[in-house]
């Protein structure tokens, strides 16, 4: 039997790894190790960010790490035979390794991983591995500092809230620290509700201790002795890993009474959300923890003065908190070297939609959208034409191709009409209808409006009705004006961020893609060939390249095509399944 003491295989088992079949790969490796009677440690880790390459496994031999991509159970034998058995790396499957150039290197080239420093590196269920990578050193350092020094350090780092609003974290902590009261609370907002964003899930699944440690440091700074993590119930794996991490931290006295021998104590609870987007808003979240309907209330008083059970309360987002231990360990100065003048540090972005390399990336603030979408994200799927990127979810907007060189920082993104938000970037190509996207978001906000403010409750519904009739080809000339009018009313008369930003997806698409609205209303055409009611299933002869792809894609043989001839759709046979439209790379079927 070979001595493989220092041999490790690590399987990526975040939600994306599992969804791609990670557990089957893990199981196969486990069986093979047993069958071959070799001494190899089998471990699991969270998401390294390369979701497009899942299932990912890493082979570590004496510290040298080789990351393999697109692994399935059938590929396991070869890796065990060649790499583990003979020490020969299977080059063609390598995603990342030192000394081996791969196509995926450009995915990492511009990244700086601070919040994600441990994701995909350590086992999220092992506190030892977290500790080995400087884990819980920052809280040790923090309790030796004065509370004011800790607040100052975070203030000096320039860190701004990563949940969406971008409020300076240090300032928030100062308000809560200076608030009068014996009892204070520290809350982590893990109610990641933005459709299109999944960094909070990945951080908790991949590195739960960094969030706990961030909370500890914050709680110490503001003087809180009790805290809550409010996490979406839709993230079962994250919830499970949080419970495990908390009990590990309690065992080692990183949580509990007199932490690390200091007189700082902190008790941490998990609260599973019950599904309400508005609970991302601080006062609504607090109401939800109190067991009530999660409806926002008028501010002031701000939670820093009167929050959970009317006690001073500080709330930070998951990604914000994951940065905190790094800042305390490495210093504010080092952190603030990353980024731009007003947006310091790094930001995690979730790349999704019509992008080649979907996944999670962390980059210094100040890169351009082009660098993120094309250099890191590899550009658009099927080499179609880039149309827009949606940022900020239902509160954000669609940034068009003409602004692709915008730098990514809070102020530049806000200037486009979108917002940084929590960092979701959903990329859209020429086949995405911008009116439909606006309709999609209004449908979402209309559903999620808590109903407290009339304009948000009723206004978003009226806007949705207008958008519905536009995509159905029943739009009226005055609809655009009506949408703008309603938008400005909803923005000015809503209490919380949900209503105040709900019209943004409509306003930005009207600003940059007004012609698409007009085409729907006046010409009864959808330029993206996406809105069902406006499809005619006709070939546009000028655009047809006579390639025949549509004829091959048609399941009903309804398309007549011969070489060097424009395709023709037989409407009697056509079942309107859209297979031809999807297959056509030239937008030649409308």
């Amino acid at each position: 039997m070979q001595d493989k003491e220092n041999y490790r295989i690590i399987v990526g088992l975040g939600s994306c790894g599992i969804a791609s079949g990670g557990r089957k790969v893990y199981q196969k490796i486990k069986e093979e190790i047993k069958k071959r009677n070799i001494k190899v440690l089998l471990e699991e880790t969270g998401c390294v960010g390369m979701c497009y390459n899942e299932v990912l496994i890493e082979v570590v031999i004496n510290g040298s790490r080789i990351l393999y991509k697109d692994i399935n159970p059938d590929k396991v034998d070869r890796i065990l035979d060649e790499h583990i058995g003979k020490g020969n790396v299977v080059n063609e499957w390598v995603a990342k390794a030192e000394g081996i150039a791969t196509l995926d290197d450009s995915f990492f080239a511009k990244q700086e991983r601070i919040a994600l420093r441990n994701c995909g590196v350590i086992s999220p269920e092992s506190i030892e591995e977290y500790i080995d990578r400087d884990g819980y050193k920052a809280i040790e350092k923090a309790v030796s500092m004065s509370r004011e020094e800790v607040v100052k350090e975070i203030l000096n780092s320039g860190l701004r809230g990563r949940g969406g609003a971008g409020f300076p974290t240090g300032m928030k902590w100062r308000f809560a620290k200076e608030a009068k009261g014996e009892k204070k609370y520290f809350i982590c907002n893990a109610d990641e509700g933005d459709p299109g964003a999944f960094m909070d899930r990945s951080v908790i699944e991949g590195d739960p201790h960094s969030v706990i440690e961030g909370m500890l440091i914050g709680a110490y700074a503001i003087g809180a002795d009790e805290g809550y993590i409010y996490v979406r119930a839709e993230y079962p794996l994250a919830v499970k890993r949080l419970y495990k991490a908390i009990s590990q931290a309690e065992e080692r006295n990183y949580l509990g009474e007199n932490i690390l021998g200091s007189n700082f104590s902190f008790k941490l609870h998990v609260k599973e959300g019950a599904g309400a987007f508005v609970c991302g808003e601080e006062t609504a979240l607090i109401a939800s923890i109190e067991g009530k309907r999660g409806m926002p209330r008028i501010r002031p008083p701000f939670p820093a003065i009167s929050g959970l059970w009317e006690k001073p309360t500080n709330i930070n987002n998951v990604e914000t908190l994951a940065n905190i231990p790094w800042i305390i360990n490495n210093g504010a100065e080092k952190y603030s070297k990353y980024g731009t003048e007003k947006s310091k540090g790094t930001k995690v972005f979730a790349l999704a939609g019509k992008i080649k390399r979907g996944g999670l990336v962390e980059v210094p603030m100040g890169l351009t959208l082009r660098e993120i979408i094309f250099d890191i994200g590899g550009g658009i799927k099927e080499n179609r034409k880039f149309k827009a990127v949606q940022m900020g979810g239902p509160s954000g907007g669609c940034i068009p191709e003409s602004l692709i060189d915008t730098t990514v920082d809070y102020d530049s993104i806000t200037a486009t009409g979108a917002i940084m938000g929590s960092g979701g970037m959903v990329v859209m190509d020429e086949t995405t209808c911008m009116v439909d996207i606006a309709r999609f978001f209004l449908n979402f906000t209309q559903n999620e409006s808590c109903g407290k403010c009339t304009f948000c409750r009723v206004g978003t519904r009226r806007m949705l009705e207008i958008l519905n009739r536009i995509v159905e080809g029943k739009g009226k000339e005055e609809d655009i004006y009506l949408l703008e009018e309603l938008s400005s009313r909803i923005i000015t008369t809503s209490l919380c961020g949900l209503g105040q930003t709900a019209p943004n997806p409509v306003l930005t698409t009207l600003r940059y893609f007004r012609n698409e609205y007009e085409a729907h209303i006046k010409e009864k055409k959808c330029p993206a060939h996406s809105c069902e009611a406006l499809l005619r299933f006709e070939v546009i002869p000028e655009l047809c390249k006579m390639c025949g792809k549509c004829a091959k894609a048609c399941p009903e043989n309804a398309i007549k095509w011969e070489k060097k001839q424009v395709a023709m759709i037989d409407k009697d046979k056509c079942i309107k399944c859209r297979a031809c439209i999807t297959s056509c790379k030239f937008m030649a079927i409308e």
């Binding site: 939600s15 994306c16 599992i18 969804a19 791609s20 979701c51 497009y52 899942e54 990641e192 509700g193 933005d194 459709p195 299109g196 964003a197 999944f198 899930r201 979406r232 119930a233 839709e234 993230y235 079962p236 794996l237 609260k271 599973e272 959300g273 019950a274 599904g275 309400a276 987007f277 939800s288 923890i289 109190e290 067991g291 009530k292 309907r293 999660g294 409806m295 059970w309 979730a350 790349l351 999704a352 939609g353 019509k354 979907g358 996944g359 999670l360 949606q390 979810g393 979701g424 959903v426 859209m428 995405t432 996207i437 999609f440 978001f441 979402f444 559903n447 999620e448 808590c450 859209r578």
Partner: protein, 153 residues
């Protein structure tokens, strides 16, 4: 439910949480785990147990999307309709599932095996379109292959 002994178990849940502040939502979550939904009788029981009005309990139940007022099937299918899934063709996926199961969004199959629900976002955006059955996530689905995921249940 036959053989569930739900009422006694609900009393146990209420005993565990009685007197604790902010306990309504966790109590409702556990109640739903028990019954698969929140029956009217349970709401009355909870209100009495926690010293609240039934209308307050009902208000909370109807506010959050997690809580259901009707029984569900053995397996719950959550079809993601987040932004990335929408752009990636979630509508066609949902239609294909409706066709395969013979039910509409929100309904349960006659054999009580599946309940179909459209949800906002499951946070697996880079693998869109995505469907979750119970706690398993299925990724990169297409209209033609989506029905095959039911075979595992």
């Amino acid at each position: 439910m036959v053989g569930c002994n739900c009422e006694t178990k609900l009393k146990g849940i209420l005993d565990e949480y009685r007197g604790k502040s902010g306990s309504l939502i966790p109590v409702l979550q556990k109640t739903q785990d028990l019954y698969g939904y929140i029956p009217k009788e349970a709401m009355e029981e909870i209100a009495q147990g926690l010293g609240m009005l039934t209308s307050e309990v009902y208000g909370v139940v109807t506010f959050y999307t997690q809580f259901r007022l009707t029984p569900v099937g053995k397996n719950i299918i959550k079809a993601c309709h987040g932004t990335a899934c929408h752009v990636g063709g979630a509508k066609a996926i949902s239609e294909a599932m409706e066709k395969a199961l013979g039910i509409k969004n929100g309904e349960t199959t006659k054999d009580k095996k599946f309940t179909l629900e459209e949800v906002a976002c499951l946070g697996c955006c880079s693998l869109a379109p995505v469907v979750m059955i119970n706690e398993d996530t299925y990724a990169n689905l297409s209209e033609s292959n989506v029905a095959s995921i039911f075979e595992n249940y």
